[in-house]
Amino acid sequence: MSEAIETEVVREGMTQEATVDTIHMNMIQAINSAMDVMMERDPTVVVMGEDVGFFGGVFRATAGLQQKYGKNRVFDTPITECGIIGVAVGMGAYGLRPVPEIQFADYIYPALDQLVSEAARLRYRSAGEFIAPMTVRSPFGGGIFGGQTHSQSPEGIFTHCSGIKTVIPSTPYDAKGLLIAAIEDNDPTLFFEPKRIYNGPFDGHYDTPATSWAGHPHAQVPTGYYRIPLGKARIARAGGALTILCYGTMVHVVEDTVKTLGIDAEIVDLRSLVPLDIDTIEASVKKTGRCLIVHEATRTSGFGAELSAQVQERCFYHLEAPIARVTGFDTPYPHSLEWAYFPGPVRIREAINKIMKD
């Protein structure tokens, strides 16, 4: 177990429950372990979605859960995302804690009304009489040649809507701890899983062999229960030259680019967009005076726009250069031109060079 992980567990005050047993897990295994741990601890946790039952999910994230917990708690659903989320709202009203899977984030749009108008508003409109304590898991993002219907990053659509949390892990360790916290949370949470890094971190160099999580310090994951609080960012790399705000797959692309450039950047892995750890962001940008925002989602009205506005509002007099964004372009995700669209090392390097010259 790395020192960083031990520190985390202790800081969150879960020492009495956190087990010291850790094993290597890739992100899928860590996500599977989070659901396993929570289903074991809480009989109201149920897992549902297309292909999640007997088969264990198209990405295997729910493998073995139906065999272990039975069909009343882990079951396949009809192919209707509206129905999946609507049913999860009703189950939540009954007193269950549903963890529905939307097979790809690109498929979440039929469920938009049930998520935004129902799950996200139920506590408010009933003044707390009814709640929707669901965690919607969904693989998102590109880099797998998924074309425009298996690559999107729709997080900004949901961060715009009041009443729903949006969480995005970047490592196996974070994925498990954040997912446990999301399942325990009494508000609806979207848990977007960066599918490009399910099996290994991705530095953006698509033309080199894929790496696995083997040997990565954050792939050493406790086998038992632990949680990472929602709304707490992680400093992926401390530095003083500039602040780079990112999440999900982009954390790894940014880390590698920064390493290659040899620049002393501070990399903030947001982990959670709503709630947002603005204190960590503000402290970092005030320290470095420069801010680059990197996300894979389209630019206009993307979450980077919100980050840019908030940094400007809080850090204007500390800024040495205009805030910059590297994002997906405002086009559909193009299949054959994936690597021109993807905010990879070239675009991030150019942005860093520019912001350091400004």
Partner: protein, 431 residues
């Protein structure tokens, strides 16, 4: 410009010896100024509908989706296989709850017209749908209503003042003035928070029922939507889930003929019945005279028994008529014949049960008039009580900072900041 369709534009039949295609846009039988004509309605005799076993296979009872379950006949007698044979006290309870619903609606509609609130929706003519179902269900069965089932709350003896506080969005409103009037929520009454987005409650009810079944509970769920919103995807998702998991749920479609200004033809009524939606899903479908409370009651009991014995869901179409406007915000004389309500061939649910009770010798005109007077006073007194907590727009509402509560269980940083910013701005402005 190039022609993107390649059809040659509006007169794009060049070289093709085919008849032009025609688009069918439905049109209701009568518009304002025209006479209503219901002679084409096929109304079966009250004792015509057979009563299948509660465990019948949906495929063996498809005819039920195209017939009409009726109990009260033209002579005001209760007849046929569906007659629930209720004791006098139950009949009179039904009558009283329907009359209470109508009195409540009258009072609150007037309150809206007096400017005491922003909005109201009456259920005039459809009282039997809510009251009949509520009395057939167990008190702890969970209801996922649409916006015109206030009768459920009244039949579950929910306090009138509490409902009115919500309508007035005043300091007594448990929902803290956040919801449009009549969008009640009453967990203790087994009444789910009403959404203004149509038919979202359908899959939610199915989910609740699935949870109840998965946990080995004995409670069932019931939900309601209008015929117009059966067109929503949520309706079809719900039917699929209900069918697949044989969920213990009763799905009610209140066919009141009108969705604001769109007649039922825009939801498919020209082609088939709404109960027939059940056929394709392999769900038991019943079509009921929604203005006959004994039929509604009997059908709901049948569906509840079916659900409780793990025989699966039921879709019930309640054939009725929306006598008033959709809400206080529309004028029905602008889009439909004014004669329709008075000529509705299935009559008025209160008048029909009243006549039945009089025929039975358990009721009379004098007692009915006295009851109406008593109920009018009851709702008047409740309204006065509620108005002590304020009416909309007169300052007696929840404090402005409460706007930020209950968005999440714990108020996150950004909402704290926005709350403080709002208070600071008002303070700076000297307000």
């Amino acid at each position: 410009m190039s022609d993107p369709t390649g059809s040659g534009g509006m007169d794009g039949q060049a070289g093709r010896n085919l008849p032009p295609l025609r688009l069918h846009v439905p049109e209701p039988p009568a518009r304002p100024g025209e006479s209503a004509d219901f002679t084409h309605f096929d109304i079966p005799a009250a004792d015509a509908a057979p009563r299948p076993d509660e465990a019948a296979q949906p495929g063996d009872m498809r005819d039920m989706a195209y017939g009409l379950i009726r109990v009260l006949n033209e002579e005001d007698a209760a007849v046929g296989a569906w007659n629930p044979r209720l004791p006098p006290e139950t009949l009179l309870r039904m009558l009283r709850y329907m009359a209470l619903t109508r009195a409540f609606d009258a009072r609150m509609f007037r309150a809206q017209r007096q400017g005491k609130t922003s909005f109201y929706m009456k259920s005039t003519g459809e009282e039997a749908v809510s009251i009949g179902a509520a009395l057939a269900l167990s008190r702890d069965d969970m209801c996922f209503p649409s916006y015109r089932q206030q009768g459920i709350l009244l039949a579950r003896d929910w306090p009138l003042v509490d409902m009115m506080n919500q309508i007035y969005s005043n300091t007594g409103d448990r929902l803290k003035g956040r919801q449009l009037p009549i969008m009640y929520s009453a967990r203790e009454a087994g009444f789910f928070s009403i959404s203004g987005n149509l038919t979202t409650q359908y899959p939610q009810a199915v989910g609740w029922a699935m949870a109840s079944a998965a946990r080995g509970d004995t409670r069932i769920a019931a939900t309601w939507c209008g015929e117009g919103s059966t067109a929503e995807g949520d309706f079809h998702s719900a039917c699929t889930f209900a069918s697949v998991y044989r969920a213990p749920v009763i799905m009610n479609v209140v066919n009141n003929q009108w969705a604001i200004s769109s007649f039922s033809g825009f939801a498919g009524a020209e082609a088939t019945t709404f109960a027939a939606r059940a056929v394709g899903y392999g769900i038991a479908g019943l079509r009921v005279d929604g203005n006959d409370i004994l039929a509604v009651y009997a059908a709901t009991c049948w569906a509840a028994d079916r659900a409780r014995s793990n025989a699966g869901p039921t879709l019930i179409e309640h054939f009725s008529y929306r006598v008033e406007g959709h809400s206080t915000s529309d004028d029905p004389t602008a889009y439909r014949s004014a004669e329709e309500g008075s000529l509705w061939p299935l009559g008025d649910p209160i008048a029909r049960l009243k006549a039945h009770c009089i025929t039975l010798g358990i009721w009379d005109e004098g007692r009915h008039a006295a009851m109406d007077k008593e109920l009018a006073e009851l709702v008047r007194d409740a309204a006065r009580e509620a108005e002590k907590n304020g009416i909309l727009g007169h300052g007696l509402h929840h404090p402005m900072e409460s706007m930020f509560e209950d968005v999440f269980e714990e108020m996150p940083r950004h909402l704290h900041e926005q709350q403080q910013q709002m208070l600071d701005e008002w303070k700076a402005a000297g307000l």
